[in-house]
Subunit: 439 residues, 2 copies
C-alpha cells in the first residue's frame, strides 16, 4: 500500500464513453477528490485497443497504452478501473489485478453476472475491494443501497426498469402508437440503441443486471442463464392501446422475488403495470428500481441508468470510496455479504412454469357467435379464471376480430397449456400475445 | 475493541416506537445478523424513562435501565444506539459515548442538526463511527447515498418531501377538498400526527432534516435556524383547486440549492409542483428526495420517511455497517466528508429575499372593473411580470371576487414589497396567500 502522503495511482482499462468520462472527472475534479478522500488520485495508465484513434481531449503523454501489462504488472498502480466491457479479456484482467493485490472498480455487468461470485471471493482472500456500482443501474445508486443501507432487510422482491434503450422504445410506442421496428430505428438514429440492438431489446442486458442485483439482494447466486428472458419485439401498437383502456402501461421489467419455499423467481419480460404505479411513469431513458424489504417496505430509486455522466458518477463514487478506505487494515469492508444460505448455484431459481401471475392475452378469432364460449371453456378447464374480455377491431373483410382477455392470477404452465389448446381451435386465427400483469 | 470471536454489545437509548423495532430486529434476526456481519450482536442494555411501563414484548431480565451510566460507563458496550429523541440529554449522552470510544448510531434529526458537526469531529478524533441514516429520511437511504454512492458529484440541489405528517394532510386536502384543520385532526386520529403537531406542520422537523442533508450534500454547515421555514396552515381548499386548474399539485418541499456565488439557498415551504413531476405524485405518508448532481443528473429516492419498521431498517442498517467495520483499523471510514470549503457556519446561507422564483398569489378583491389594472401596475412597477390571471368565486353578497395571479420568475424581496403595496389598495380586501412555484 502507498504511504499516506503518496498519490493513489489509477490504471484505467477502456477509454470509451464511460472511460472518457472517468478520465475527465479525475483530471477536472482533482482538487475536490483530494478534499473528499484526503488523497491525491492520479490517472497513470489508460488501456485501449487502438492507440491511433483521435481522442477528445487527448490523454496526457505516456498515459495511453495498448499493453495490459502496463497496468497489471505495474506495482505502482493501486486501483484498476475496468470500463472496457465484455466477458473476455476483461474478466481475466480483473482476476489478475485482484490476484496482484490491486483494488478493482468495474462497470461491467457481463463480467459481474458471469464471474461476480469468484471475483468477489478472490478480492476477499486478497483483502482488496471490488466495487461495481455502475454495473447494474448506471447512475442509480442501487448496488450500494443493497450492500449497505438496506442490508438489515430480508429483501422480498426487486422490480426494475433497467434498460434505457428498451424503455425509450416502449415510451415512444406508447406515446405515438409507433410500431416496434420504427421506434427501434428511431432509437438507433438518436444514439439510444446500438447498431446491433439484440442485447438490449431481447432482455439480455437486463438479465445481466438482474443477476447482479438479485445476487446482492438474496445473498445467493442468480445466474443470468437461469433468468427467464423475453424481449419486446412481439409488442404491437394495439397492445399499448388495449393496455391503456384497461388502465395499464407496458414496461419491460426485470423482476426477482423471494418465494416462500426459499427459491427465487427471476424474470425479464414486458409486463402490464397499473398506470398509477410509479414504475408506469418511468419514461424515456430514465430507469428505476423498486426494492421491497421486510423492514423498509417499498423503496423506489429513479434516475439515469446509462449515459456517460451518470455512469461516471457511479464509477467515480466507487473510486472515491476505495481511496477513502485504502489505508484501513482488516478485512475489506465494502464487499457484499457472501452467500450464507448454502444454496447451490442455479438450484434455487424457480422455473417460470411455476409462476403465479395474472395475464393479458390477445387473440385474433373468427368474428362469429360462440367463439368466446369455446375459448372460455378451455381456459376454465385449465383452472384459469377470466377477469375481463374486450372484443375489438372487427375486420369485416377477413371476418375476424381481436379478442383481449385478462385473467385472475393463474399458474404459468396452466396458461401456456390452455393457450396451446386455444390456438388449435378452428375459430382462432392466431394467439398474438401473452403479457404478464404486475400489480 | 472486542476480540473477533466475542459478541458486539449494544446499548440502546430509548425503547419507544423505533427502539422497540430495533430491539425486536436484534432478537428476531440474530442469526441473519451473524451471517451478514460475521459477528454476534447482543442487546445488553436499554435505557428508558419509566421502567414500570408495560412493554410488548417485555425486554429480557436485566436489560431495562433508567440509569444512563449503565450504558455510558459500561466498557463492554461497543455501540450506542440512540433512539430517544430531543436535543438534551440525548446530545450529552452521545458526546459521552463518543468520548468514551463507543461507536454511535442515532435516528435523532434534532441532535444531528444542532450538534452534528461537533459530534462528527469528536467521532473522527476518537476513530469511531457515528452513523445517522434514519435521521433525515426515515427508511429512505438518502444519507448513505450522499456520503457514499453520490460522493463524486458536485451536488446542485436537493428538493424533498420529508415530513410524512404534512404530506398526509396535503394529500387529504388535495383529494377531498378538506380544510386544513379537519385534515389535521383526521391525521391525529389516524396516528399520523402528534397531539402537538407544531414541529411537523410548521416545517421545523423538515428543517432539521434539511440541515442534515444539506450539510452532507454541500460539505458545509447548514444550520437549521438559517433555513427559511413556513408551515402549511395557510393553505385553503381553494388553493388546491386553483393549483390543479393551473396544472400543479401543492407539496411542502424542503429545498437546498447551491448558488453560483457559492452560497446555499435553503428553505422549507409549500410549493406548486407541476403535476407530471414525480414529486407531485408522492402521496400520503410516503416521502421522496430528489438530488441533482453534475454527474448523476436527477435522482429520486421514494419510500417511507417514518414509521417503526422503515426507521428500524435504517437504524439496523447502520448497526450492521458499524459491526462489519468494527475490526478495521485506520481512520473511521464511514464519516462524511468534512467541510472543505472553509465557510463560516451560517455565513453561506442566502437570505430568502434573494430568491428568484415564480409565484402564485391569491387575493380577495372588490368585484368591479379596473381592479386588475391597479394590481398589475403595482406588480409591474416592482419588476414582476404576470404569467396568468384567474378570476374566480365571485361573491355577489359581499361584492368580492377571488383573484389568482401567477408570475414569471421574480426576486422574492420585490414580490413581498409589491404585495405590501397591493394590500393597501382600496379595492383589495385581503392578500390571502403567496405560494412559490417550483418547475
Ligand atoms: N455507456 C454506458 O452508458 C454504460 C452504462 C453502464 C455501464 N456501462 C459499462 O461500461 C463499460 C464500458 O462501456 P462504454 O460504453 O464506455 O464502452 P465503449 O465506449 O465501447 O468503450 C470501450 C473502451 O474499451 C476499450 N477496449 C475494448 N476492448 C478492449 C481490449 N480487448 N483491449 C483494450 N482495450 C479495449 C476500447 O478501446 P478503443 O477506444 O481503442 O476502441 C474503448 O476505449 C461496459 O462494461 C458497459 O457495459 C456502460
Ligand atoms: N417514529 C418515527 O417514525 C421516527 C422516524 C425517524 C426518526 N425518528 C427519531 O427516532 C427517535 C425516537 O423516536 P420514537 O418515535 O421512537 O420516540 P418515542 O416512541 O417517544 O420513544 C422514545 C423512547 O426514549 C425514551 N426516553 C425519552 N427521553 C428519555 C430520557 N430523558 N431518559 C431515558 N429515556 C428516555 C422513552 O422512554 P419511555 O419508554 O420510558 O417513555 C422511550 O422509550 C427520535 O429522535 C425521532 O426523531 C423517529
Amino acid at each position: 500500500m502507498p504511504g499516506t502522503m503518496e498519490p493513489i495511482n489509477i490504471g484505467l482499462m477502456g477509454l470509451g464513453t464511460v472511460g472518457g468520462g472517468v478520465a475527465a472527472a479525475l483530471s477536472n475534479n482533482a482538487e475536490e477528490i483530494q478534499r473528499k478522500t484526503g488523497r491525491t488520485v492520479c490517472l497513470r495508465r489508460a488501456l485501449v485497443r487502438d492507440a491511433g484513434k483521435t481522442r477528445e481531449p487527448a490523454p496526457p503523454a505516456g498515459v495511453l497504452t495498448t499493453n495490459p501489462e502496463d497496468i497489471l504488472a505495474d506495482p505502482e498502480i493501486h486501483v484498476v478501473v475496468e470500463v472496457m466491457g465484455g466477458d473476455s479479456p476483461a474478466g481475466e484482467y480483473l482476476e489478475r489485478a485482484l490476484a496482484g493485490g490491486k483494488h478493482v472498480v468495474t462497470a461491467n455487468k457481463e463480467v459481474m453476472a458471469r464471474r461476480g461470485a469468484s471475483l468477489l471471493a478472490l478480492a476477499q482472500s486478497q483483502s482488496v475491494n471490488l466495487l461495481f456500482e455502475a454495473s447494474a443501474g448506471g447512475g442509480i445508486p442501487i448496488v450500494g443501497c443493497l450492500m449497505s443501507q438496506l442490508l438489515a432487510n430480508d429483501i422480498r422482491s426487486i422490480r426494475s426498469i433497467i434498460n434505457g434503450t428498451t424503455n425509450y422504445i416502449l415510451t415512444r410506442m406508447a406515446r405515438s402508437q409507433t410500431p416496434f421496428a420504427e421506434a427501434l430505428s428511431e432509437a438507433q438514429s438518436q444514439g439510444y440503441a446500438e447498431a446491433d440492438p439484440t442485447n438490449d431489446v431481447e432482455g439480455i442486458d437486463a438479465a445481466y443486471k438482474l443477476s447482479v442485483l438479485g445476487s446482492l439482494a438474496f445473498h445467493q447466486s442468480i445466474p443470468h442463464e437461469a433468468i427467464h428472458t423475453e424481449g419486446i419485439s412481439r409488442l404491437g401498437p394495439e397492445d399499448f392501446r388495449y393496455a391503456a383502456e384497461l388502465g395499464y402501461a407496458i414496461k419491460s421489467l426485470a423482476i426477482a422475488a423471494a418465494q416462500p419455499d426459499g427459491t427465487v423467481q427471476a424474470r425479464v419480460h414486458p409486463a402490464l403495470v397499473p398506470e398509477d404505479h410509479l414504475l408506469a411513469k418511468v419514461d424515456g431513458v430514465y430507469n428505476a428500481v423498486e426494492v421491497t424489504g421486510d423492514l423498509c417496505g417499498q423503496i423506489i430509486l429513479h434516475g439515469q441508468g446509462a449515459g456517460r455522466d451518470a455512469t461516471t458518477s457511479a464509477v467515480m463514487g466507487d473510486i472515491l470510496n476505495v481511496v477513502r478506505f485504502i489505508d484501513s487494515a482488516g478485512p475489506p469492508p465494502l464487499l457484499p455479504v457472501p452467500n450464507g444460505r448454502g444454496h447451490q448455484v442455479g438450484n434455487s431459481i424457480r422455473p417460470i412454469d411455476e409462476l403465479s401471475s395474472a395475464y393479458y392475452l390477445r387473440l385474433t378469432c373468427a368474428d362469429q357467435a360462440g367463439v368466446l364460449a369455446q375459448i372460455a371453456r378451455l381456459l376454465g378447464d385449465g383452472n384459469i379464471s377470466i377477469a375481463t374480455v374486450i372484443q375489438k377491431d372487427t375486420d369485416p373483410g377477413s371476418g375476424t376480430a381481436q379478442l383481449v382477455i385478462t385473467t385472475y392470477p393463474s399458474r404459468e404452465a396452466d396458461v401456456q397449456t390452455a393457450l396451446a389448446a386455444v390456438a388449435k381451435l378452428g375459430v382462432v386465427v392466431s394467439v398474438d400475445n401473452l403479457i404478464r400483469i404486475e400489480q
